[in-house]
Amino acid sequence: LSLQESLLLKSLGLSAKPSPKTPIPVPPVLWRIFQRRKTQPSMNKEPVDACRVEEFDVPGDIIRVFTDQGHFIPKGQPQGQLCLRKRLYFNLSMLEEDENVTMAQLEIKFHHNSYHTSSQGQIFELRLSQPSQVSLQGMPEPRQKLLVEQSFAQLHKSLLFNLSMVARDWRMHNRNLGLVLEVAVSGGDEVNELQGLCTSIDSFLDTSLLVVTLSQQCQVSRRRRR
């Protein structure tokens, strides 16, 4: 690695030259922000603040989208309205030590099977909680801190949740036990009818966590400006 290249990589905030093994597709939200910035008229006299993400109106110069590495939690015997339980896990460990998390947004996308006439207008209940300790096989479920509880109808849009406090908590205490997502059918009574409605959520559920951080360079320049 030539000296110039390592110095340039260092000035770009990289300890080593990345060599992607399994490059994943660029998340659409990053691509949109990148394109918008590229087309921003650079001749406008107002200097662009490189340490602020205008799209979310938060300080930050680095944006990442983490894919969910959690797994579905077996429901055990059919539990009434419960359609699915899933652990969500986002590996934030590759954030640099000196990066400050300024925003974390969870996106949940249901690939609704919108041709299921039976569930048109069906209301679902969503609960998102944060486990306080690791759950052990055969042991009672550990206490969980409820973060979000809301109902939603079948729409073709994402559900977005601001998890900035949770992400900061993970970083601060260096303990990231992920999250537990539960989706249940609201109303209905016959078990088989309920399970039929659950299939309208379809098996595939896509969740990702968009994280904005402020690098050391920006923190220094912001302090200097203040």
Partner: protein
């Protein structure tokens, strides 16, 4: 690939074209976009009398005057960037995550003395 400044009458201080191509440095496998960008650089004279469009500081005006009286003793003022822009780079990090990072002061828009 810096183009050598064209031989023109006005070798005054101003931005010169400098295109940085990431594939020239073998970074195209981890930088997703852009493939390169116009960084530019500043080059040129800051002669006496400094004209208004040279974006000069009061100190530079003073220094050119002293330089014109005593060329050996006091050099001309330097031609430096006075307005820069950031760029955004989309790249794969060492964990194959996609990162969008904003880098300040990466493009020279204006030069001055």
């Amino acid at each position: 690939s810096a183009q050598h400044p064209p031989i023109t009458l006005s070798n005054l201080c101003r931005p010169r074209r400098l295109y940085i191509s990431f594939s020239d440095v073998g970074w195209e496998n981890w930088i997703i976009a852009p493939q390169g960008y116009l960084a530019n650089y500043c080059l040129g004279e800051c002669p006496f009398p400094l004209t208004a469009e040279l974006n000069s500081t009061n100190h530079a005006i003073l220094q050119t005057m002293v330089h014109s009286l005593d060329p050996q003793g006091t050099p001309q003022p330097c031609c430096v960037p006075v307005r820069l822009s950031p760029i955004s780079i989309l790249y794969y990090d060492n964990s194959d995550n996609v990162v969008l990072r904003h880098y300040a002061d990466m493009v020279v828009d204006e030069c001055g003395c």
